[in-house]
Protein backbone atom coordinates (compact mmCIF):
# COMPACT_ATOMS: atom_id res chain seq x y z
CA UNK A 1 0.00 0.00 0.00
CA UNK A 2 2.86 2.32 0.82
CA UNK A 3 4.37 1.64 -2.59
CA UNK A 4 1.04 2.52 -4.14
CA UNK A 5 1.15 6.03 -2.69
CA UNK A 6 4.86 6.25 -3.40
CA UNK A 7 4.15 5.85 -7.11
CA UNK A 8 1.92 8.88 -7.09
CA UNK A 9 4.55 10.77 -5.11
CA UNK A 10 6.96 9.97 -7.92
CA UNK A 11 4.44 11.25 -10.43
CA UNK A 12 4.19 14.53 -8.53
CA UNK A 13 7.96 14.90 -8.79
CA UNK A 14 7.77 14.16 -12.51
CA UNK A 15 5.02 16.75 -13.01
CA UNK A 16 7.07 19.32 -11.11
CA UNK A 17 10.10 18.79 -13.34
CA UNK A 18 7.99 18.53 -16.50
CA UNK A 19 6.45 21.91 -15.71
CA UNK A 20 9.69 23.39 -14.47
CA UNK A 21 11.68 22.49 -17.56
CA UNK A 22 9.73 24.52 -20.17
CA UNK A 23 9.37 27.38 -17.70
CA UNK A 24 13.13 27.24 -17.18
CA UNK A 25 13.78 27.38 -20.90
CA UNK A 26 11.40 30.30 -21.34
CA UNK A 27 12.95 32.22 -18.47
CA UNK A 28 16.44 31.55 -19.81
CA UNK A 29 15.30 33.18 -23.02
CA UNK A 30 13.88 36.07 -21.01
CA UNK A 31 17.13 36.37 -19.09
CA UNK A 32 18.93 36.73 -22.42
CA UNK A 33 16.75 39.74 -23.12
CA UNK A 34 17.75 41.27 -19.80
CA UNK A 35 21.42 40.96 -20.80
CA UNK A 36 20.77 42.39 -24.28
CA UNK A 37 21.61 39.14 -26.04
CA UNK A 38 18.07 38.76 -27.29
CA UNK A 39 16.82 41.84 -29.16
CA UNK A 40 13.64 43.57 -28.08
CA UNK A 41 12.67 46.27 -30.55
CA UNK A 42 8.92 46.10 -30.62
CA UNK A 43 6.91 48.31 -32.92
CA UNK A 44 3.28 48.92 -33.78
CA UNK A 45 3.60 46.95 -37.01
CA UNK A 46 5.25 43.99 -35.35
CA UNK A 47 2.58 43.83 -32.68
CA UNK A 48 -0.25 43.81 -35.22
CA UNK A 49 -2.03 40.49 -35.71
CA UNK A 50 -0.64 38.39 -38.53
CA UNK A 51 -2.84 38.31 -41.61
CA UNK A 52 -0.53 37.04 -44.32
CA UNK A 53 1.49 40.25 -44.34
CA UNK A 54 -1.48 42.55 -44.95
CA UNK A 55 -2.65 45.10 -42.39
CA UNK A 56 -5.34 43.32 -40.34
CA UNK A 57 -8.71 43.98 -41.92
CA UNK A 58 -11.22 41.57 -40.43
CA UNK A 59 -12.64 41.83 -36.91
CA UNK A 60 -11.75 39.17 -34.37
CA UNK A 61 -14.20 36.30 -34.86
CA UNK A 62 -16.71 35.98 -32.04
CA UNK A 63 -19.23 33.69 -33.72
CA UNK A 64 -18.51 30.03 -34.34
CA UNK A 65 -20.08 27.62 -36.70
CA UNK A 66 -22.61 25.27 -35.09
CA UNK A 67 -20.81 22.18 -36.38
CA UNK A 68 -18.09 22.50 -33.74
CA UNK A 69 -20.83 22.29 -31.11
CA UNK A 70 -22.18 19.14 -32.74
CA UNK A 71 -18.78 17.51 -32.52
CA UNK A 72 -18.41 18.55 -28.90
CA UNK A 73 -21.78 16.96 -28.05
CA UNK A 74 -20.90 13.72 -29.84
CA UNK A 75 -17.53 13.70 -28.10
CA UNK A 76 -19.11 13.95 -24.66
CA UNK A 77 -21.51 11.07 -25.36
CA UNK A 78 -18.93 8.66 -26.73
CA UNK A 79 -16.08 9.60 -24.45
CA UNK A 80 -18.21 8.81 -21.42
CA UNK A 81 -18.91 5.47 -23.07
CA UNK A 82 -15.16 4.86 -23.28
CA UNK A 83 -14.75 5.60 -19.59
CA UNK A 84 -17.24 2.84 -18.79
CA UNK A 85 -15.47 0.42 -21.13
CA UNK A 86 -12.13 0.58 -19.31
CA UNK A 87 -12.97 -1.00 -15.93
CA UNK A 88 -15.02 -3.63 -17.73
CA UNK A 89 -12.08 -4.50 -20.01
CA UNK A 90 -9.66 -4.90 -17.09
CA UNK A 91 -11.87 -7.41 -15.26
CA UNK A 92 -13.26 -9.01 -18.39
CA UNK A 93 -10.95 -12.03 -18.38
CA UNK A 94 -11.92 -12.82 -14.78
CA UNK A 95 -15.61 -12.15 -15.33
CA UNK A 96 -15.86 -14.61 -18.20
CA UNK A 97 -14.79 -17.40 -15.82
CA UNK A 98 -17.91 -16.84 -13.75
CA UNK A 99 -20.47 -15.63 -16.22
CA UNK A 100 -19.17 -16.82 -19.62
CA UNK A 101 -20.38 -14.83 -22.57
CA UNK A 102 -22.89 -12.96 -20.39
CA UNK A 103 -20.01 -10.64 -19.44
CA UNK A 104 -19.69 -9.75 -23.10
CA UNK A 105 -23.44 -9.60 -23.60
CA UNK A 106 -23.88 -7.05 -20.82
CA UNK A 107 -21.43 -4.72 -22.51
CA UNK A 108 -23.03 -5.38 -25.88
CA UNK A 109 -26.37 -4.19 -24.51
CA UNK A 110 -24.66 -1.01 -23.30
CA UNK A 111 -22.98 -0.52 -26.67
CA UNK A 112 -26.23 -1.31 -28.44
CA UNK A 113 -28.03 1.45 -26.58
CA UNK A 114 -25.28 3.84 -27.66
CA UNK A 115 -25.43 2.64 -31.24
CA UNK A 116 -28.93 4.07 -31.58
CA UNK A 117 -27.83 7.71 -31.11
CA UNK A 118 -24.81 6.96 -33.29
CA UNK A 119 -26.99 5.77 -36.16
CA UNK A 120 -29.34 8.70 -35.56
CA UNK A 121 -26.41 11.11 -35.79
CA UNK A 122 -25.23 9.39 -38.96
CA UNK A 123 -28.71 9.58 -40.46
CA UNK A 124 -29.00 13.27 -39.59
CA UNK A 125 -25.59 13.83 -41.24
CA UNK A 126 -24.17 15.14 -37.98
CA UNK A 127 -20.99 13.11 -38.55
CA UNK A 128 -20.21 15.00 -41.73
CA UNK A 129 -18.40 18.26 -42.10
CA UNK A 130 -21.11 20.31 -43.77
Amino acid sequence: MQDYFRQYGLLVIFVAIAIGMPIGMLSLSLLAQRFKVRPSRSSEVKRAAYESGMPPMSPKPTLFNIRYYQYALLFVVFDVETVFLYPWAVKYGVMTQQFGLVALGAMLVFLGVLTVPYLYAWRKRALEWQ
Binding site: R6, Q7, L10, L11, I13, F14, V15, I17, A18, M21, P22, I23, M25, L26, L28, S29, L30, R38, S40, S42, R47, A48, A49, Y50, S52, P56, S58, P59, K60, P61, T62, L63, F64, N65, Y68, Y71, A72, L74, F75, F78, D79, T82, L85, Y86, A89, V90, Y92, G93, V94, T96, Q97, G100, L101, L104, M107, L111, Y118, L127, E128, W129
Partner: protein, 429 residues
Protein backbone atom coordinates in the same frame (compact mmCIF):
# COMPACT_ATOMS: atom_id res chain seq x y z
CA UNK B 1 2.12 -4.65 -9.03
CA UNK B 2 5.84 -4.00 -9.20
CA UNK B 3 7.33 -2.23 -6.22
CA UNK B 4 9.89 0.47 -6.62
CA UNK B 5 12.75 -1.92 -5.99
CA UNK B 6 11.88 -3.90 -9.12
CA UNK B 7 13.05 -0.80 -10.88
CA UNK B 8 16.77 -1.24 -11.45
CA UNK B 9 17.43 2.50 -11.89
CA UNK B 10 15.92 3.28 -8.53
CA UNK B 11 17.61 0.38 -6.80
CA UNK B 12 21.05 1.41 -8.04
CA UNK B 13 20.78 5.06 -7.07
CA UNK B 14 18.95 4.42 -3.83
CA UNK B 15 21.36 1.76 -2.61
CA UNK B 16 24.33 3.95 -3.41
CA UNK B 17 22.90 6.77 -1.37
CA UNK B 18 21.50 5.11 1.71
CA UNK B 19 23.51 3.55 4.51
CA UNK B 20 22.67 0.19 5.98
CA UNK B 21 19.32 -0.60 4.39
CA UNK B 22 19.84 -4.35 4.21
CA UNK B 23 16.11 -5.01 3.90
CA UNK B 24 15.98 -3.29 0.53
CA UNK B 25 19.55 -3.49 -0.75
CA UNK B 26 20.85 -6.98 -0.09
CA UNK B 27 24.19 -6.44 -1.76
CA UNK B 28 24.55 -2.70 -1.22
CA UNK B 29 25.33 -0.27 -4.03
CA UNK B 30 28.16 -0.35 -6.54
CA UNK B 31 30.39 1.62 -4.20
CA UNK B 32 29.31 -0.03 -0.97
CA UNK B 33 27.06 1.81 1.44
CA UNK B 34 26.05 5.40 0.96
CA UNK B 35 26.29 8.36 3.29
CA UNK B 36 22.67 8.99 4.22
CA UNK B 37 21.60 7.41 7.53
CA UNK B 38 18.60 5.15 7.56
CA UNK B 39 16.12 7.68 8.87
CA UNK B 40 16.82 9.85 5.83
CA UNK B 41 15.86 7.05 3.43
CA UNK B 42 13.01 9.18 2.07
CA UNK B 43 15.59 11.77 1.02
CA UNK B 44 17.61 9.18 -0.87
CA UNK B 45 14.41 8.06 -2.49
CA UNK B 46 13.46 11.60 -3.55
CA UNK B 47 16.94 12.34 -4.86
CA UNK B 48 16.85 9.15 -6.91
CA UNK B 49 13.48 10.18 -8.33
CA UNK B 50 14.74 13.65 -9.26
CA UNK B 51 17.86 12.29 -10.93
CA UNK B 52 15.99 9.71 -13.00
CA UNK B 53 13.26 12.13 -13.96
CA UNK B 54 15.76 14.75 -15.04
CA UNK B 55 17.72 12.15 -17.00
CA UNK B 56 14.60 10.94 -18.83
CA UNK B 57 13.48 14.43 -19.80
CA UNK B 58 16.92 15.51 -20.95
CA UNK B 59 17.29 12.34 -22.97
CA UNK B 60 13.94 13.22 -24.51
CA UNK B 61 15.14 16.72 -25.42
CA UNK B 62 18.30 15.25 -26.93
CA UNK B 63 16.35 12.73 -28.94
CA UNK B 64 14.02 15.46 -30.20
CA UNK B 65 17.10 17.28 -31.54
CA UNK B 66 18.30 14.10 -33.24
CA UNK B 67 14.79 13.33 -34.49
CA UNK B 68 14.42 16.75 -36.12
CA UNK B 69 17.78 16.30 -37.81
CA UNK B 70 16.88 12.80 -39.02
CA UNK B 71 13.48 14.07 -40.11
CA UNK B 72 15.01 16.75 -42.28
CA UNK B 73 17.62 14.42 -43.74
CA UNK B 74 15.09 11.71 -44.57
CA UNK B 75 12.65 14.27 -45.93
CA UNK B 76 15.38 15.58 -48.20
CA UNK B 77 16.19 12.09 -49.43
CA UNK B 78 12.53 11.44 -50.18
CA UNK B 79 12.59 14.51 -52.41
CA UNK B 80 16.04 13.87 -53.87
CA UNK B 81 17.63 16.80 -52.09
CA UNK B 82 20.66 16.57 -49.85
CA UNK B 83 19.15 18.22 -46.75
CA UNK B 84 21.16 19.92 -44.02
CA UNK B 85 24.82 18.99 -44.51
CA UNK B 86 26.98 21.94 -43.46
CA UNK B 87 27.26 21.99 -39.68
CA UNK B 88 28.94 19.01 -38.12
CA UNK B 89 29.13 15.51 -39.58
CA UNK B 90 26.15 14.94 -41.91
CA UNK B 91 24.76 18.29 -40.76
CA UNK B 92 24.04 16.92 -37.32
CA UNK B 93 24.69 20.22 -35.57
CA UNK B 94 22.12 22.08 -37.68
CA UNK B 95 19.28 21.46 -35.24
CA UNK B 96 21.49 22.35 -32.29
CA UNK B 97 22.20 25.68 -33.98
CA UNK B 98 18.49 26.09 -34.66
CA UNK B 99 17.65 25.47 -31.02
CA UNK B 100 20.17 28.04 -29.83
CA UNK B 101 19.00 30.53 -32.44
CA UNK B 102 15.35 30.07 -31.45
CA UNK B 103 16.22 30.90 -27.88
CA UNK B 104 17.79 34.26 -28.79
CA UNK B 105 15.17 35.47 -31.25
CA UNK B 106 13.10 38.52 -30.50
CA UNK B 107 9.89 37.72 -28.66
CA UNK B 108 6.90 39.56 -30.12
CA UNK B 109 3.57 39.54 -28.32
CA UNK B 110 0.69 40.86 -30.42
CA UNK B 111 -1.07 43.94 -29.07
CA UNK B 112 -4.50 42.28 -28.97
CA UNK B 113 -3.27 39.12 -27.28
CA UNK B 114 -4.53 37.94 -23.91
CA UNK B 115 -1.06 37.92 -22.39
CA UNK B 116 -1.59 35.45 -19.56
CA UNK B 117 -3.23 32.78 -21.70
CA UNK B 118 -0.81 33.50 -24.54
CA UNK B 119 2.15 32.81 -22.25
CA UNK B 120 0.76 29.75 -20.47
CA UNK B 121 -0.20 27.90 -23.67
CA UNK B 122 3.33 26.88 -24.79
CA UNK B 123 4.13 25.41 -21.38
CA UNK B 124 0.82 23.57 -21.26
CA UNK B 125 1.49 22.17 -24.72
CA UNK B 126 4.78 20.58 -23.66
CA UNK B 127 3.82 19.18 -20.25
CA UNK B 128 1.35 16.46 -21.42
CA UNK B 129 3.88 15.14 -23.91
CA UNK B 130 6.54 14.96 -21.21
CA UNK B 131 4.14 13.21 -18.84
CA UNK B 132 3.71 10.28 -21.22
CA UNK B 133 7.32 9.26 -20.58
CA UNK B 134 6.69 8.86 -16.86
CA UNK B 135 4.95 5.53 -17.35
CA UNK B 136 6.67 4.04 -20.42
CA UNK B 137 8.88 1.01 -19.67
CA UNK B 138 12.09 1.55 -21.65
CA UNK B 139 13.52 -1.84 -20.81
CA UNK B 140 13.36 -4.72 -18.33
CA UNK B 141 13.29 -3.00 -14.93
CA UNK B 142 13.95 0.36 -16.56
CA UNK B 143 10.98 2.62 -16.01
CA UNK B 144 10.09 5.62 -13.91
CA UNK B 145 6.81 4.39 -12.47
CA UNK B 146 4.69 1.46 -13.54
CA UNK B 147 1.24 2.75 -12.65
CA UNK B 148 -1.52 0.18 -12.48
CA UNK B 149 -3.59 2.57 -14.63
CA UNK B 150 -0.73 3.31 -17.04
CA UNK B 151 -2.51 3.36 -20.39
CA UNK B 152 -5.47 5.26 -18.98
CA UNK B 153 -3.04 7.78 -17.52
CA UNK B 154 -1.50 8.33 -20.94
CA UNK B 155 -4.85 8.85 -22.62
CA UNK B 156 -6.03 11.17 -19.85
CA UNK B 157 -2.87 13.26 -19.84
CA UNK B 158 -2.51 13.64 -23.59
CA UNK B 159 -6.00 15.09 -23.87
CA UNK B 160 -4.61 18.10 -22.01
CA UNK B 161 -3.02 19.28 -25.24
CA UNK B 162 -6.49 20.13 -26.57
CA UNK B 163 -6.71 22.77 -23.88
CA UNK B 164 -3.31 24.17 -24.86
CA UNK B 165 -4.39 24.47 -28.50
CA UNK B 166 -7.54 26.37 -27.53
CA UNK B 167 -5.55 28.65 -25.25
CA UNK B 168 -2.96 29.36 -27.93
CA UNK B 169 -5.62 30.13 -30.50
CA UNK B 170 -7.74 32.27 -28.21
CA UNK B 171 -4.81 33.95 -26.51
CA UNK B 172 -3.15 35.16 -29.69
CA UNK B 173 -6.43 36.77 -30.83
CA UNK B 174 -5.54 36.13 -34.44
CA UNK B 175 -8.28 35.39 -36.95
CA UNK B 176 -6.40 32.64 -38.69
CA UNK B 177 -5.26 31.16 -35.38
CA UNK B 178 -8.82 30.88 -34.14
CA UNK B 179 -9.95 29.07 -37.31
CA UNK B 180 -7.07 26.68 -36.93
CA UNK B 181 -7.65 26.21 -33.21
CA UNK B 182 -11.30 25.26 -33.71
CA UNK B 183 -10.40 22.85 -36.49
CA UNK B 184 -7.69 21.33 -34.38
CA UNK B 185 -9.97 20.82 -31.37
CA UNK B 186 -12.59 19.14 -33.54
CA UNK B 187 -9.89 16.86 -34.93
CA UNK B 188 -8.28 16.03 -31.58
CA UNK B 189 -11.63 15.26 -29.98
CA UNK B 190 -12.79 13.11 -32.87
CA UNK B 191 -9.67 10.96 -32.88
CA UNK B 192 -9.50 10.59 -29.13
CA UNK B 193 -12.50 8.26 -29.03
CA UNK B 194 -11.29 5.60 -31.50
CA UNK B 195 -7.82 5.90 -29.93
CA UNK B 196 -9.14 5.20 -26.44
CA UNK B 197 -11.32 2.28 -27.59
CA UNK B 198 -8.65 0.67 -29.77
CA UNK B 199 -6.35 0.06 -26.77
CA UNK B 200 -9.15 -1.76 -24.96
CA UNK B 201 -8.48 -4.89 -27.01
CA UNK B 202 -4.92 -4.99 -25.64
CA UNK B 203 -6.23 -4.28 -22.14
CA UNK B 204 -8.66 -7.20 -22.33
CA UNK B 205 -6.01 -9.69 -23.42
CA UNK B 206 -3.49 -8.45 -20.85
CA UNK B 207 -6.10 -8.11 -18.11
CA UNK B 208 -4.46 -4.96 -16.82
CA UNK B 209 -3.99 -1.28 -17.63
CA UNK B 210 -0.38 -1.34 -16.48
CA UNK B 211 2.06 -0.94 -19.37
CA UNK B 212 4.54 -3.37 -17.79
CA UNK B 213 1.84 -6.02 -17.62
CA UNK B 214 0.78 -5.33 -21.22
CA UNK B 215 4.37 -5.90 -22.35
CA UNK B 216 4.52 -9.12 -20.33
CA UNK B 217 1.35 -10.39 -21.98
CA UNK B 218 2.80 -10.07 -25.47
CA UNK B 219 4.25 -13.50 -26.16
CA UNK B 220 3.04 -12.67 -29.63
CA UNK B 221 3.17 -8.93 -30.37
CA UNK B 222 -0.30 -7.41 -30.35
CA UNK B 223 0.25 -6.02 -33.84
CA UNK B 224 -0.17 -9.61 -35.00
CA UNK B 225 -2.89 -10.54 -32.53
CA UNK B 226 -5.10 -7.51 -33.20
CA UNK B 227 -4.14 -5.81 -36.48
CA UNK B 228 -7.36 -3.81 -36.45
CA UNK B 229 -6.55 -2.25 -33.07
CA UNK B 230 -3.04 -1.43 -34.24
CA UNK B 231 -4.21 0.15 -37.46
CA UNK B 232 -6.75 2.37 -35.72
CA UNK B 233 -4.37 3.30 -32.93
CA UNK B 234 -1.58 4.17 -35.37
CA UNK B 235 -3.89 6.37 -37.46
CA UNK B 236 -5.20 8.11 -34.34
CA UNK B 237 -1.68 8.61 -32.99
CA UNK B 238 -0.72 10.28 -36.26
CA UNK B 239 -3.76 12.53 -36.02
CA UNK B 240 -3.20 13.38 -32.36
CA UNK B 241 0.38 14.44 -33.01
CA UNK B 242 -0.74 16.58 -35.99
CA UNK B 243 1.16 14.62 -38.61
CA UNK B 244 0.68 15.24 -42.27
CA UNK B 245 -2.34 13.41 -43.57
CA UNK B 246 -4.22 15.03 -40.70
CA UNK B 247 -2.47 18.37 -40.27
CA UNK B 248 -5.49 20.48 -41.20
CA UNK B 249 -4.78 22.65 -38.17
CA UNK B 250 -1.45 23.83 -39.54
CA UNK B 251 -2.25 23.71 -43.23
CA UNK B 252 0.40 26.09 -44.51
CA UNK B 253 -1.35 26.95 -47.74
CA UNK B 254 -4.57 27.96 -45.99
CA UNK B 255 -3.73 29.02 -42.46
CA UNK B 256 -0.08 29.94 -42.35
CA UNK B 257 1.04 27.96 -39.34
CA UNK B 258 -2.37 27.91 -37.72
CA UNK B 259 -2.48 28.57 -34.01
CA UNK B 260 1.26 29.20 -33.77
CA UNK B 261 1.09 32.11 -36.17
CA UNK B 262 1.76 34.80 -33.60
CA UNK B 263 4.29 32.93 -31.52
CA UNK B 264 7.95 33.73 -31.84
CA UNK B 265 11.22 33.05 -30.07
CA UNK B 266 11.28 30.33 -27.39
CA UNK B 267 7.49 30.18 -27.20
CA UNK B 268 7.44 29.03 -30.79
CA UNK B 269 10.28 26.70 -29.91
CA UNK B 270 8.07 25.13 -27.24
CA UNK B 271 5.38 24.30 -29.81
CA UNK B 272 8.00 22.93 -32.16
CA UNK B 273 9.46 20.81 -29.37
CA UNK B 274 6.00 19.59 -28.37
CA UNK B 275 5.17 18.59 -31.93
CA UNK B 276 8.25 16.44 -32.41
CA UNK B 277 8.21 15.08 -28.86
CA UNK B 278 4.60 14.07 -29.49
CA UNK B 279 5.81 12.07 -32.48
CA UNK B 280 8.36 10.30 -30.29
CA UNK B 281 5.75 9.73 -27.57
CA UNK B 282 3.34 8.24 -30.09
CA UNK B 283 6.06 5.91 -31.35
CA UNK B 284 6.90 4.90 -27.77
CA UNK B 285 3.26 4.10 -26.96
CA UNK B 286 2.80 2.11 -30.17
CA UNK B 287 5.98 0.18 -29.43
CA UNK B 288 4.90 -0.62 -25.89
CA UNK B 289 1.30 -1.59 -26.54
CA UNK B 290 1.51 -3.25 -29.95
CA UNK B 291 5.13 -4.16 -30.74
CA UNK B 292 5.85 -6.03 -27.46
CA UNK B 293 7.85 -3.11 -26.01
CA UNK B 294 11.27 -4.05 -24.75
CA UNK B 295 10.96 -7.77 -25.40
CA UNK B 296 13.38 -9.33 -27.86
CA UNK B 297 15.97 -12.07 -28.18
CA UNK B 298 18.70 -12.68 -25.74
CA UNK B 299 22.10 -11.22 -26.70
CA UNK B 300 20.81 -7.68 -27.30
CA UNK B 301 19.79 -5.74 -24.16
CA UNK B 302 16.11 -4.93 -23.77
CA UNK B 303 16.60 -1.16 -23.99
CA UNK B 304 18.12 -1.53 -27.46
CA UNK B 305 15.12 -3.52 -28.58
CA UNK B 306 12.81 -0.80 -27.33
CA UNK B 307 14.64 2.05 -29.02
CA UNK B 308 15.18 0.04 -32.21
CA UNK B 309 11.48 -0.66 -32.53
CA UNK B 310 10.71 2.94 -31.68
CA UNK B 311 13.05 4.10 -34.44
CA UNK B 312 11.35 1.80 -36.92
CA UNK B 313 7.94 3.21 -35.97
CA UNK B 314 9.26 6.76 -36.27
CA UNK B 315 10.62 5.99 -39.72
CA UNK B 316 7.23 4.60 -40.74
CA UNK B 317 5.56 7.77 -39.47
CA UNK B 318 8.02 9.89 -41.46
CA UNK B 319 7.39 7.83 -44.54
CA UNK B 320 3.64 8.44 -44.27
CA UNK B 321 4.25 12.10 -43.61
CA UNK B 322 6.43 12.63 -46.66
CA UNK B 323 4.38 10.70 -49.18
CA UNK B 324 0.74 11.35 -48.38
CA UNK B 325 -1.17 14.47 -49.30
CA UNK B 326 -3.16 16.34 -46.69
CA UNK B 327 -6.78 15.25 -46.25
CA UNK B 328 -9.64 17.72 -46.38
CA UNK B 329 -11.37 18.49 -43.05
CA UNK B 330 -14.52 16.66 -44.09
CA UNK B 331 -12.50 13.58 -45.04
CA UNK B 332 -10.64 13.68 -41.74
CA UNK B 333 -13.85 13.88 -39.70
CA UNK B 334 -15.59 11.27 -41.81
CA UNK B 335 -12.72 8.84 -41.31
CA UNK B 336 -12.77 9.24 -37.54
CA UNK B 337 -16.51 8.98 -36.98
CA UNK B 338 -17.63 6.65 -39.74
CA UNK B 339 -14.59 4.47 -40.29
CA UNK B 340 -12.33 4.18 -37.27
CA UNK B 341 -15.09 4.21 -34.65
CA UNK B 342 -16.73 1.14 -36.17
CA UNK B 343 -13.44 -0.63 -36.76
CA UNK B 344 -12.59 -0.28 -33.06
CA UNK B 345 -15.96 -1.69 -32.04
CA UNK B 346 -15.44 -4.66 -34.38
CA UNK B 347 -12.01 -5.20 -32.84
CA UNK B 348 -13.50 -5.02 -29.35
CA UNK B 349 -16.16 -7.57 -30.25
CA UNK B 350 -13.90 -10.13 -31.93
CA UNK B 351 -11.24 -9.88 -29.22
CA UNK B 352 -13.92 -10.09 -26.53
CA UNK B 353 -15.39 -13.29 -27.94
CA UNK B 354 -11.99 -14.91 -28.20
CA UNK B 355 -10.92 -13.89 -24.71
CA UNK B 356 -14.15 -15.45 -23.43
CA UNK B 357 -13.49 -18.67 -25.35
CA UNK B 358 -9.89 -19.07 -24.21
CA UNK B 359 -10.19 -17.77 -20.65
CA UNK B 360 -12.31 -20.72 -19.56
CA UNK B 361 -9.43 -23.12 -19.02
CA UNK B 362 -7.16 -20.54 -17.42
CA UNK B 363 -6.63 -19.70 -13.80
CA UNK B 364 -8.07 -16.25 -13.07
CA UNK B 365 -5.78 -13.42 -14.07
CA UNK B 366 -3.42 -15.70 -15.93
CA UNK B 367 -1.87 -14.50 -19.19
CA UNK B 368 -2.59 -16.19 -22.48
CA UNK B 369 -0.04 -18.59 -23.90
CA UNK B 370 1.61 -18.04 -27.27
CA UNK B 371 -0.48 -20.77 -28.94
CA UNK B 372 -3.73 -19.17 -27.86
CA UNK B 373 -2.49 -15.80 -29.06
CA UNK B 374 -1.63 -17.27 -32.48
CA UNK B 375 -5.16 -18.69 -32.83
CA UNK B 376 -6.59 -15.29 -31.84
CA UNK B 377 -4.31 -13.70 -34.43
CA UNK B 378 -5.54 -15.99 -37.21
CA UNK B 379 -9.18 -15.18 -36.48
CA UNK B 380 -8.47 -11.49 -36.07
CA UNK B 381 -6.70 -11.27 -39.43
CA UNK B 382 -9.76 -12.71 -41.16
CA UNK B 383 -11.93 -10.16 -39.31
CA UNK B 384 -9.40 -7.47 -40.28
CA UNK B 385 -9.57 -8.14 -44.01
CA UNK B 386 -13.35 -8.52 -44.09
CA UNK B 387 -14.08 -5.42 -42.00
CA UNK B 388 -11.62 -3.20 -43.88
CA UNK B 389 -13.24 -4.30 -47.12
CA UNK B 390 -16.74 -3.63 -45.74
CA UNK B 391 -15.85 -0.21 -44.32
CA UNK B 392 -14.16 0.64 -47.61
CA UNK B 393 -17.45 -0.14 -49.37
CA UNK B 394 -19.41 2.07 -46.95
CA UNK B 395 -17.01 5.02 -47.09
CA UNK B 396 -16.10 4.82 -50.76
CA UNK B 397 -16.66 8.13 -52.52
CA UNK B 398 -19.10 8.09 -55.38
CA UNK B 399 -17.46 8.03 -58.80
CA UNK B 400 -16.83 11.54 -60.00
CA UNK B 401 -19.13 11.45 -63.02
CA UNK B 402 -22.08 10.00 -61.14
CA UNK B 403 -21.70 12.58 -58.37
CA UNK B 404 -21.62 15.36 -60.95
CA UNK B 405 -24.79 14.12 -62.62
CA UNK B 406 -26.65 13.85 -59.30
CA UNK B 407 -25.64 17.28 -58.07
CA UNK B 408 -28.11 20.09 -58.71
CA UNK B 409 -26.98 22.22 -61.60
CA UNK B 410 -25.36 25.42 -60.42
CA UNK B 411 -25.31 28.24 -62.91
CA UNK B 412 -23.68 30.86 -60.67
CA UNK B 413 -22.99 33.60 -61.62
CA UNK B 414 -24.78 33.27 -64.95
CA UNK B 415 -28.51 32.69 -64.69
CA UNK B 416 -28.85 33.31 -60.95
CA UNK B 417 -31.72 35.54 -59.98
CA UNK B 418 -30.25 36.84 -56.74
CA UNK B 419 -26.77 36.76 -55.30
CA UNK B 420 -26.24 34.23 -52.49
CA UNK B 421 -26.44 35.78 -49.01
CA UNK B 422 -23.10 37.04 -47.75
CA UNK B 423 -21.89 35.33 -44.58
CA UNK B 424 -22.24 37.45 -41.43
CA UNK B 425 -19.15 39.52 -40.79
CA UNK B 426 -16.94 37.91 -38.21
CA UNK B 427 -18.46 34.41 -38.44
CA UNK B 428 -15.80 31.77 -38.17
CA UNK B 429 -15.03 29.24 -40.83
Amino acid sequence: MPTFLDNSWFRNIYCNLVENDSARCASGGWFGDGILPNNLAWLAYTVAAFVICFAILNALLGSVIVYIWAWRRVFARFQRRSGPNRWGPFGMLTTVADAIKTMFKEDVVPAEADRLIFNIAPVLMVVPVFMVFAVIPFGAGTFFVDLNVGILFIIAVTSGSVLAVVMAAYGSANRVAIFSGMRSVALLMSYEIPMAISVIGAVMVAGSLSLGRIVEAQDVPFIIVMPLGFLVFAICALAESNQTPFDIAEAESELGSGYLNDYSSMKFGMFYLAEFAAGIAAAAIITTVFLSGWRGWWPIPSQFWFFGKMGAVLFGMMWIRFTWPRLRPDQVMGLAWKGLFELTLINLLSTGIMVAVFADEEAPGDLFSANELWIMAAVNWVVFVVSIWAIGKVLAPKPYRAAMLEAPVQLYPVGVDEMPAVKAAGAAD
